[in-house]
């Protein structure tokens, strides 16, 4: 009985070590509450920079500027069933199920030629707030 218990624990440990809970955080996430101070037509560029820091990208045309802030906070999960081969084989072939996404969310602010906010908005490219297992 003791041996069966040990083997069960051993198998469980192997299974747990075959899992991969991963978190990826890129910059400090910006929420709609963080940008409530922005009033189009009123808020100057300096105030935006003071509150949010410098952007990751600047673009625009001759009469306007666009700031892009990239951020991400995503959770991923993966399990590799091939991990069990590590007991008797030097090679563990990957047999994984998991979920991951690339890309970042973006907060975008446009300024006019006087560096006053014209518009702002979010662009979400990730939906990994919770850990998801199946890739399908």
């Amino acid at each position: 009985m003791k041996l069966i218990g040990n083997v069960t624990i051993f198998t469980l440990v192997l299974l747990i070590s075959a899992c991969d809970f991963r978190r990826v955080v890129v910059n400090k996430p910006i929420n709609p509450e963080h940008v409530e101070f922005i009033n189009p037509g009123l808020t100057p560029l300096t105030e935006v920079v003071k509150e949010l820091g410098s952007p990751d990208e600047v673009s625009g045309a001759s009469d306007y500027l666009v700031f892009r802030y990239h951020f991400k906070s995503a959770k991923f999960f993966r399990i590799n069933f091939g991990h069990i081969f590590r007991i008797w084989s030097p090679v563990s072939p990957p047999m994984s199920l998991g979920n991951s996404e690339s890309g970042t969310d973006i907060f975008l602010v446009a300024f006019d030629s006087n560096w006053i906010v014209l518009n702002h908005g979010f662009s979400y490219h990730n939906d990994t707030k919770n850990v998801e297992f199946l890739p399908f």
């Binding site: 624990i9 051993f10 070590s17 955080v25 400090k28 625009g60 001759s62 300024f111 030629s113």
Partner: protein, 133 residues
């Protein structure tokens, strides 16, 4: 190999399993740091004077920019640096990535009109726990 008595078998199995658990956990621990781009030094940023510093001086102090953008009637030099810290323990991992960005705005005469600098890499920590906010 012949065992001396029946009691020695369970002990050796337990020892083997304990050793295996230790090996599994020890081989799965890592702390990794990655950086990209040159450090943007505070003393170089302090040299940038609005309305005075020229494009050539900025190039001499900070080097070639990573990107040059034309927008809003300005020529903008963009310097950036990335830093990442990853903590990994068995089946838990977390990677934190941050960036520092410096923008220098030049007018048509090539004189600095605005400097924007944000430092987000100082807040980065080595973390392992992937859950929560």
């Amino acid at each position: 190999m012949k065992l001396k008595n029946n009691q020695s078998r369970p002990i050796s199995v337990v020892s083997f399993l304990l050793l295996t658990y230790c090996l599994i956990f020890l081989q799965s621990c890592a702390f990794v740091r990655g950086t990209m781009g040159e450090e943007i030094k505070d003393n170089n940023i302090a040299k940038l004077k609005k309305g005075i510093s020229s494009r050539a001086e900025v190039g001499a102090w900070l080097g070639a920019p990573d990107e040059i953008v034309q927008a809003g009637g300005y020529e903008i030099f963009h310097y950036r640096q990335y830093d990442s810290k990853m903590g990994y323990f068995v089946f838990l991992s977390r990677i934190n990535v941050g960036s520092n960005n410096l923008y220098v705005f030049f007018d048509q005469q090539g004189i600095v009109q605005e400097v924007i600098f944000g430092e987000r890499t100082k807040e980065l920590e080595f973390q392992v726990w992937p859950f929560g906010d």
